[in-house]
């Protein structure tokens, strides 16, 4: 290595570059970035996950160009199921224009060249971080969740070898004990997000850090729900119309959050609201976290107003 330049290994040739360029996506990479073998491996894991609802399937998570913890699991799942005709929506905290959602949507635009949308009703594939869209999903849609910690028992038992056994033997007593402890200490179950659920009456699952407000949406949802945890290397799934029940006690039943206010933009009283601090005197306003849902409501209210039907 004695010359002034350092030669790098050769990359793609002109023909693949041209083909990729024509499709409007980044040259030198396979469709949706992952190689076909990896996609096949992930699809096999997905099939297994769908066959055993709520069960965590280990998979060979790949190093991705986005950092672990930033959605690599969700991205790998999406990359494995997306096709050229799909319409992709990506949200983070319910919004399409948060930086993480923008970054991931751009990633798929560059590597797959698929159409993207902000409208839930138009999407065939929705990747989400920490929220389920307010607009009810339909059969044929796929919802991909980004999961940081897939193991619901992790906080009670740090060892993977032990939690695997607990799931295999359905030894979930500790989970119930944890809820008991909450009630004994706080008078209520103190979990506000990533609230544990029982899927298909068998496996206890971590729904990802969605607020408990969203838990009921998972129950018997017509869409396919897929969960990807890249760093922890686990995939799980809830097939359409599957029972998903939040854990509770008979005399302390599961309940969702409620606000006293309505959305300041669209007036919704039944959606999850973000709190915006407007001044340093404690002024606050509340807005729908789901930006598409809010915009849709505003659109139809505007249309109703024009037609004089409100």
């Amino acid at each position: 290595m004695s010359d002034d330049t350092l030669t790098l290994p050769p990359r793609e040739d002109a023909s693949t570059a041209a083909a990729a360029g024509a499709a409007g996506r980044l040259s030198g990479y396979n469709f949706a970035y992952l190689d076909e073998q990896t996609k096949r491996m992930i699809r096999r894991a997905l099939l297994k996950a769908i066959a055993i609802p709520g069960y965590q399937v280990p998979f060979g998570s790949r190093e991705m160009p986005l950092p672990y913890g930033w959605g690599t699991g969700g991205i790998q799942v999406t990359a494995s199921v997306i096709g050229p005709d799909d319409v992709l929506k990506v949200i983070d905290q319910g919004a399409d224009d948060t930086t993480n959602a923008v970054s991931i949507r751009k990633f798929f635009a560059r590597t797959a060249g698929v159409a993207t949308t902000e409208r839930t009703t138009e999407a065939t594939l929705i990747q989400t971080r920490h929220r389920i869209p307010e607009t009810p999903l339909k059969e044929g849609q796929i919802l991909v969740y980004q999961v940081p910690i897939p193991e619901p028992l992790r906080w009670l038992e740090p060892r993977e070898t032990e939690t695997r056994r607990m799931h295999a033997l359905a030894e979930y007593g500790v989970m119930q004990v944890k809820l008991y402890e909450d009630i004994a200490r706080y008078g209520r179950i103190a979990t506000a997000y990533n609230y544990p659920v029982r899927v298909n009456g068998r496996y206890i699952m971590a729904p990802s850090p969605i607020p408990k407000f969203d838990n009921p949406k998972m129950h018997r949802n017509p869409a396919i729900q897929l969960f990807g945890a890249g760093r922890e290397r686990r995939i799980y799934a809830v097939p359409p119309y599957t029972a998903v029940e939040s854990l509770d006690f008979e005399d302390h039943p599961f309940a969702v959050e409620r606000w006293d206010q309505a959305c300041a933009l669209c007036g919704a009283t039944d959606s999850f609201l973000d709190e915006i601090v407007t001044d340093d005197a404690g002024g606050r306003m509340f807005l729908c976290s789901d930006t598409d849902h809010c915009a849709e409501r505003r659109r139809s209210r505007g249309a109703d107003a024009q037609e004089g039907t409100t």
Partner: protein, 259 residues
């Protein structure tokens, strides 16, 4: 009165490499009976207890238990691991010498005692709590402590929590490893009285391992004396303690204070 014992042990032997922990132990235990196993430390009592309670797989021999639905079964050969674990949570109880081994220190006393109920499907908080408080009374624990964590309890209180945690599932067989070890003499006496009362009330059978002859005198119907891994004498407690036959038993008995 059934013909099958609750627990049948034959030829139980466990080796660590070439060292013999226990050799050729055999006995029958009947419902409601308490068997004491005594000997010095290193005599093999704890290993024996671990084999009996399915915590250790013995090198040779069998341990059979009279299950509720299948009768007498070999707990190692005829039961799967899930079935054994279920047994340990319901029909059996284990009171460890060190409460830290038998309790969840990060969970409240109430949570500890109620766990077995929740593990088998109890889902009504109020009912669970009521039953837990009931057991607090039975083991003479102050109801006010139900939400406190056991790491702030005295040794005697921790043992009471352990006992309640096990008995709440109405087990038919209880294993106790030095239940009063490390406790004050007066605390020991009260705990033994409690155990004796509870055993009589619940009709539970028990295997008690201890080096303290006072414990077996109070709790056990029958006694096995162990030395160097072997059972040297076996009989009714009073008979063995008042009229020991084997020289080692005589040595043991003569070394306790006669009161």
């Amino acid at each position: 009165m059934s013909d099958t014992p609750l627990l049948r042990v034959r030829g139980l032997t466990h080796l660590y490499g070439r060292a013999v922990a226990c050799r050729d132990v055999g006995f029958d235990l009947w419902p409601g009976e308490v068997l004491g196993i005594v000997g010095e430390s290193g005599a093999g009592k704890t290993t024996l207890l671990k084999c009996l309670s399915a915590q250790l797989v013995p090198t040779h021999g069998t341990v059979e238990y009279d299950t509720r639905d299948r009768g007498l079964v070999d707990i190692f050969a005829a039961l799967s691991e899930p079935e054994r674990r279920m047994l340990l949570r319901t029909d059996w109880g284990i009171v460890h010498q060190n409460p830290r081994d038998g309790l969840r220190m990060a969970v409240s006393a109430g949570g500890n005692v109620g766990e077995r109920l929740m593990a088998v499907g109890a889902r009504h908080y109020g009912n669970i709590r009521r039953e837990v408080l009931d057991w607090f009374d039975r083991v003479e624990l102050n109801r006010d402590r139900i939400d406190d964590r056991p790491d702030g309890f005295s040794g005697g209180m921790q043992q009471r929590v352990q006992i309640a945690r096990n008995l709440i599932s109405r087990p038919r067989l209880l294993f106790l490893d030095e239940p009063t070890g490390g406790l004050d003499v007066s605390v020991q006496a009260r705990l033994l009285d409690l155990l004796r009362r509870l055993v009589a009330e619940t009709g539970v059978a028990a295997v008690v391992v201890t080096h303290d002859l006072g414990v077996v005198r109070l709790l056990a119907h029958r006694l096995m004396v162990m030395r160097g891994g072997e059972v040297v004498e076996h009989g009714l407690t009073d008979q063995v303690l008042d009229d020991p036959q084997h020289p080692y038993s005589q040595l043991l008995v003569s070394s306790i204070l006669q009161v």
